[in-house]
């Protein structure tokens, strides 16, 4: 056969498979809706979990980026003591700079922060319960634990609040969400694949007469299989597209209300999240649909 004739035949066949795939989705309406619904439910749950995990991760990164911790002095420390602590802190390898934050400054800040209770706080001014502290900025966050340990040993230092604790906790939460997402993905994908596989099985059953005719007039096995594979992929893609719309809409709406609540902490932008959701959902949708139909064909279509 000439090259153009082969290309023409391939193009014709692809067109036929697509048309038959869409026809399958429409003629098997009820099960198609159930399949699409299952894909939507699975991917929405998975998508929201993934975005939550990604945001927690992003939040941890932001804290890491700050690269700072507080070194609190003992309450009775005097100016000389403070200077001595300062010089020892500055001599620690990995410390970029230190800033003194006196108990008076902290008291003023507290008054500003708790404006409504300012009068009550003023009563404490004579006997300020707060402590002087140094804010230590590190050259590298990985030095955090070592620097904190050395700072803790300096005479006059009472407590070091190392943000590593918080970061570790956040990382634990991220890990948990990550694992949860993976398990959700596995379970929900399995359910979706099962439902799509059953939808295709019904399609195979409904079109058994057609398949039988195709067999005895000499259609190749792949010619018979492709429309069903495409039908599965279409179900997956429609489900994935609708799920992506829902997740992006929910995320964008939540972003507005949460950003006020979270103050300086940033969340992943809607456009970045949308990109990730669209690409991953489409890949998952096609994957789920194709696997579902291939399983069904393998089990029920003996050509």
């Amino acid at each position: 056969m000439k090259k153009e004739a082969v290309t023409d035949m391939i193009f014709r066949n692809i067109q036929y498979f697509l048309v038959q795939g869409f026809k399958g989705v429409i003629s098997n309406r009820l099960m198609s809706i159930v399949s699409i619904g299952t894909v939507i439910a699975s991917l929405v749950l998975f998508g929201l979990c993934t975005l939550l995990g990604m945001n927690v991760n992003y939040f941890a990164d932001q804290i890491k980026d700050q690269c700072q911790f507080n070194v609190y002095m003992k309450k009775d420390i005097d100016r000389d003591g403070l200077r001595s602590v300062a010089s020892q802190l500055e001599s620690i390898d990995g410390v970029e700079s230190i800033t003194l934050y006196t108990k008076e400054d902290r008291f003023e800040k507290a008054k500003e922060d708790y404006d409504e209770q300012a009068k009550a706080i003023e009563i404490l001014e004579e006997n300020n319960p707060l402590r002087d502290s140094y804010i230590v900025t590190l050259t590298d966050l990985s030095e955090s634990t070592r620097v904190a340990q050395l700072a803790q040993q300096i005479e006059g230092v009472e407590e070091v609040t190392n943000r590593q604790d918080i970061i570790d906790k956040i990382l634990k939460v991220t890990d948990f969400i990550h694992n949860l997402s993976i398990w959700l993905l596995v379970i929900l994908v399995a359910i979706s694949v099962f439902i799509i596989s059953n939808t295709i099985k019904l399609g195979l059953f409904a079109r058994r007469k057609e398949i039988n005719i195709m067999k005895f007039v000499g259609a190749t096995n792949w010619f018979i299989r492709w429309p069903f594979i495409i039908e599965g992929a279409i179900l997956g893609v429609i489900g994935a597209a609708l799920a992506a719309v829902i997740v992006i809409f929910v995320y964008s709406s939540m972003l507005g209300s949460f950003s006020e609540f979270l103050g300086s902490i940033e969340l992943l932008s809607a456009s970045y999240a949308s990109k990730i959701i669209i690409y991953s959902f489409l890949a998952l949708g096609i994957g789920i649909g194709t696997i579902g139909s291939v399983l069904s064909i393998h089990k029920h279509l003996h050509v």
Partner: protein, 229 residues
């Protein structure tokens, strides 16, 4: 064209011996009736030809395909070389007469141009040009069988196999269908018809293969049906 060499078929699931040591050869352009009581092995024989079933022993050769050695990917090409006609017509009810016939070309990758050229000519040969746009349920049994024959011959196969093609038809219509097979045969196509239609087998005086209890008991040029109905 079609050759059976000492073919035996045993169904593995229930151990039934369907054909035993059957040998015959059908040459290009022949018209052959396959007769025998129900359950004698006629359907098994046609299923072996289209590779729906596989011989347990012996060799089946169809249109140069040696079926014991045929690759899975070549089975569709074997089937393209055989047109099948069934007692129950096996038409797609939601497609028109034209589309039912075109479907057989479409699934083997024929171009639209080829389909537009060939389908009307085949429908004209079976006398259904006027009914191309009708659905099978708007046709009589005889007309439905003509559609089925048109579909079997549309891809120009060298062999047409018909399994009880007149089984569901009244005698007049059956006669028309048999006449149609004769016309097709005159154009050089080999015809093998499995049938219980005694009258036609007796009158048409074609080669007859008779199967009983899985064995080929008669191979007769210009034979008769040979059984009482």
């Amino acid at each position: 064209m079609i050759e059976f060499k000492n073919v035996t078929k045993v169904y593995e699931d229930n151990g039934t011996l369907a054909l035993e040591n059957v040998s015959f050869k059908i040459n290009k352009g022949e018209f052959v009736f396959l007769v025998g009581p129900s359950g004698a092995g006629k359907s098994t024989l046609t299923e072996l030809i289209i590779h729906e079933e596989v011989a347990t022993y012996g060799e089946v050769i169809v249109n140069d395909f040696i079926l014991s050695e045929i690759k899975k990917n070549d089975i569709p090409y074997l089937r393209r070389s055989i047109g099948m006609v069934f007692q129950d017509f096996r038409l797609l009810p939601n497609k028109t007469v034209y589309d039912n016939v075109a479907f057989a070309m479409q699934v083997i990758g024929a171009s639209r141009k080829e389909i537009r050229r060939r389908v009307p000519s085949v429908l004209s040969m079976v006398g259904l040009s006027e009914k191309a746009k009708m659905k099978p349920n708007q046709l009589s049994g005889g007309e439905q069988q003509r559609v089925s024959i048109a579909r079997a011959m549309v891809n120009n196969p060298p062999v047409i196999i018909a399994d009880e093609p007149t089984g569901n038809l009244d005698p007049d219509t059956a006669a028309e269908i048999m006449q149609l097979f004769e016309e097709i045969n005159r154009s050089g196509t080999t015809i093998l018809i499995a049938t219980h239609a005694k009258e036609f087998v007796d009158n048409m005086k074609k080669r007859v293969l008779a199967v009983e209890n899985g064995s080929l008991v008669r191979d007769e040029e210009r034979g008769g049906y040979g059984y009482d109905i």
